[in-house]
Amino acid sequence: MIFLIVSFLVSMISASTPLLIAASGELIAEKSGVLNLGVEGMMLMGAIAAFATAHATGSTSLGMLAAIGAGMMMALLFAFLTLTLLANQIASGLALTIFGRGFSALLGAGYVGIAAPTLSKLNIPILSHLPVIGPILFHHDVLVYGSFVMIGAIWWFLNRTHAGLILRAVGDSHDAAHATGYPVLRIRYAATAFGGAMAGLAGAYLSLSYSPLWAQDMTAGRGWIALALVTFSAWRPLWLLFGAYLFGGIMFLSLYLQGMGVPIPAPFISALPYLATVIVLVLISRDRRRIRLNQPACLGKSFHAAA
């Protein structure tokens, strides 16, 4: 029984990590007012970049760097279209996802079915030998720990630093930010690029750790879940963490239930994590005033500086 619980919690953590990483990047982009629907595409590009680089060089660190680079390039392409050329953000984001899916499949055609190095687990000395707690908390790879550090850092950045305040200001009213003298477009470029880097890294986690193989469309909609988590958490980092783990937890819980032969129709079980996450997060973020305060008022709007 204890073994079952441990393995359940470990699987939950690994299922939640890519969502958390991708969503934390998108959170920063959206807080600056940029709605990038291309998360799925950027994750796929990150996944293939990481896999191909790790396969060629044998280094997972270089793989992760390549994923960050690939995600950023995709995000900068999006930023150029929407921020400089003032294209519609929704349409450009959808195009970015479609492009990322196709291009990653093309690049990955030769990598299907072969193996690459896997991210090694970092064993924290002493702590990882603790019974039960050890394997659950102290026997993971760098991206799992990194995702927790990142979400904490983002909370601190948004709520405690002047730079974070400027980022929120740009997302709340780009006209007022411009009038106050802040470089709206430069800040949005940076935030979008950060979102792309995180999406790429989330892809790297999938292809180097979660299921260390390349398969076409291996993100399986996680980019969309990450996007939804940002909205349903009402743009609050700690609720985002909760939402990502809720989703990961229910996903594995339903798999375990299925494995134990609980008679629930399979399609319902596959739908359960999506349903439950949406319902729970909608219920906890019902407060209209809180949403008004947290939602970036300029989300998805083009900024064109008037003379």
């Binding site: 002047h162 305040l165 400027i166 929120r168 200001a169 709340d172 009213s173 006209d175 007022a176 930010a177 009038a179 106050t180 003298g181 802040y182 008004r292 305060l293 947290n294 939602q295 970036p296 008022a297």
Partner: protein, 517 residues
């Protein structure tokens, strides 16, 4: 401060000229603001006041002319440089972040890290010293417009300015709030801060300012001492033509059953930071002009949208027009029954900027003007309709094919008023009809509204300009926080009472805020 320095004016502009495409916005403007002086810059909309102060604040650069600051020639390249000189500016439209708190908003305007340490305490200190109560931790979107203006003023004061420029500060305040603001400004002046006060409200300039510069069509027409002249004399300087008393004869009130009944109309705003309407009730007689006064953002746009049908009410019986329940109907059905609606925003709401006048005429006139045939636009009749509006209302334009956005504010407004008037509506709801409109067009619009009422149309006039409401209306009510006061006859209403109603909720909240401070 040494005595000779006091003799040097704080700011002197010589021959400032600014050319925009097709319009000379400032033509050799001279202006002198003395030390400790409250100086008025007076002029109509479009006289070039805003352009001039934008050049003082470094937002625009003059094409020609000199700026002397404390006797020395300066080139003000950007607002940051203006702030370093000691110039602060409170804009007419605030640049605030609604989702952030007061202290966060102010921190965003301070470029030096050192200035941000202990900021909340300094905000409290300054705001109590100058009688501008502010809670640093409050979110801006919970604050009244008057409170928002205080944020901008406190933000300027934190940088110890020598000159404070205020662009039409009282246009968003209740009379009581304005009085408090004047006390603050007088105190600032005695402490050594000069104030350049832009307005077209003559009485307040006579009460507040020691000197005035009057502008008309980009030129300075007079320098004077406001208290030495009557409001009428100042107005005549400002708009050149002699004013004729604009008194309309009282109209008899019809004893037929009411044209429009609002019964506890309650509507949720569809704007993120909008105001919900609560229990709005009203009876409107045939031929009556009913004014709705209030400070911007208290539910005026929502009331407009509720009446026009842009936000239909869940209850049909909440709005009854000529005995027909229309609360649930959309704009087209309401227009078919005789309603006409003209919102505040001319370009983008009242008219589509990128379409021609003839197309814009079709948009609201197609139902009653039968401008369509078999589901197709009747281009000839639409053209003629627009042409007749242009003739009847003296719209200065190249013709019905002109794009709506090419018209000046006053001309477009005349066109839009004409579009609704020519449809001979039973009910006209109009929001801020003369906002940003020149005096000549405003007079023409007033004339049209009164004639329409004489012909039996019932009119709801939503306006933030009390003079306009007192001039035109039979009865009025005040909207505050999405609730409508009891109606009163204009003849029985006093400015003080209306002012209290306008600020009712804001005053109450200020008291609540003041306690923890």
């Amino acid at each position: 401060m040494s005595a000779p320095q006091d003799q040097t004016p704080l700011l002197k502009l010589i021959g400032i000229t600014k050319q925009f495409p097709g319009c000379l916005a400032n033509d050799h403007v001279d202006l002198t603001v003395g030390q400790h002086q409250i100086h008025a810059l007076l002029g109509e909309n479009g006289a070039g006041k805003s352009t001039l102060v934008k050049m003082i604040y470094g937002v625009m650069k003059p094409d020609a002319g000199e700026i002397l600051w404390q006797g020395e020639r300066v080139t003000i390249a950007n607002p940051a440089f203006a702030r370093r000189l000691g110039i602060g500016m409170v804009f007419q439209h605030f640049s605030l972040f609604e989702a952030l708190t007061v202290v966060e908003n102010i921190a965003l305007g301070l470029n030096n890290k050192a200035d941000r340490i202990g900021l909340a305490d300094r905000i409290v200190e300054i705001s109590t010293r100058y009688g501008l109560p502010l809670d640093p931790a409050a979110s801006v979107h919970d604050l009244s417009v008057g409170e928002r203006q205080r944020i901008e003023i406190v933000r300027c004061l934190l940088q110890n300015p020598k000159l404070l420029i205020m662009d039409e500060p009282t246009s968003v305040l209740t009379p009581q709030e304005a009085k408090k603001l004047f006390a603050t400004l007088r105190r600032l002046a005695t402490e050594g801060c000069s104030i350049l006060y832009i307005s077209h409200k003559l009485e307040e300039i006579r009460a507040l300012c020691e000197a005035a510069t009057i502008m008309r069509l980009g030129k300075v027409v007079a320098h004077c001492t406001p208290a030495a002249h009557s409001a009428r004399e100042l107005a005549e300087l400002m708009i050149s033509a002699k004013l004729k008393p604009n008194d309309f004869a009282p109209r008899p009130i019809s004893d037929r059953p009411p044209r429009l009944i609002l019964d506890r109309l309650t509507i949720r705003s569809n704007n993120q930071f909008g105001t919900d309407l609560t229990d709005i009730s009203l009876d409107l007689a045939h031929g009556e002009i009913f004014g709705i006064a209030g400070i911007a953002g208290n539910g005026q746009s929502e009331l407009m949208e509720a009446l026009s049908g842009e936000i239909p009410s869940g209850k049909p019986e909440a709005i009854i027009l000529d005995g027909i329940k229309i609360g649930h109907e959309g704009p087209n059905e309401r227009r078919r029954l005789g309603g006409s609606f003209l919102p505040e925003e001319r370009n983008g709401h009242g008219a589509i900027g990128g379409m021609s006048l003839s197309e814009n005429g079709f948009l609201s006139g197609h139902v009653r003007g039968s401008l369509h045939r078999l589901g197709l636009i009747d281009r000839k009749r639409s053209f003629d309709f627009a042409q007749s509006i242009i003739h009847r209302f003296d719209v200065r334009t190249t013709g019905p094919a002109a794009e709506a956005r090419a018209l000046s504010g006053g001309n477009l407004q005349k066109f839009l008023v004409g579009r609704e008037v020519l449809q001979a509506p039973g009910l006209l709801v109009i929001n801020q009809p003369t906002w940003g409109v020149d005096a000549g067009s405003a007079a023409a619009i007033y004339q049209a509204i009164v004639q329409l009422a004489e012909a039996g149309t019932s009119i709801i006039l939503i306006s933030q300009d009390l003079d306009e409401i007192f001039l035109l209306c039979d009865r009025l009510a005040v909207i505050a926080g999405g609730r409508l006061s009891a109606p009163m006859r204009v003849a029985d209403a006093s400015i003080e009472r209306i002012g209290l109603l306008m600020g009712g909720t804001a005053e109450a909240r200020e008291v609540a805020h003041a306690v923890p401070v």
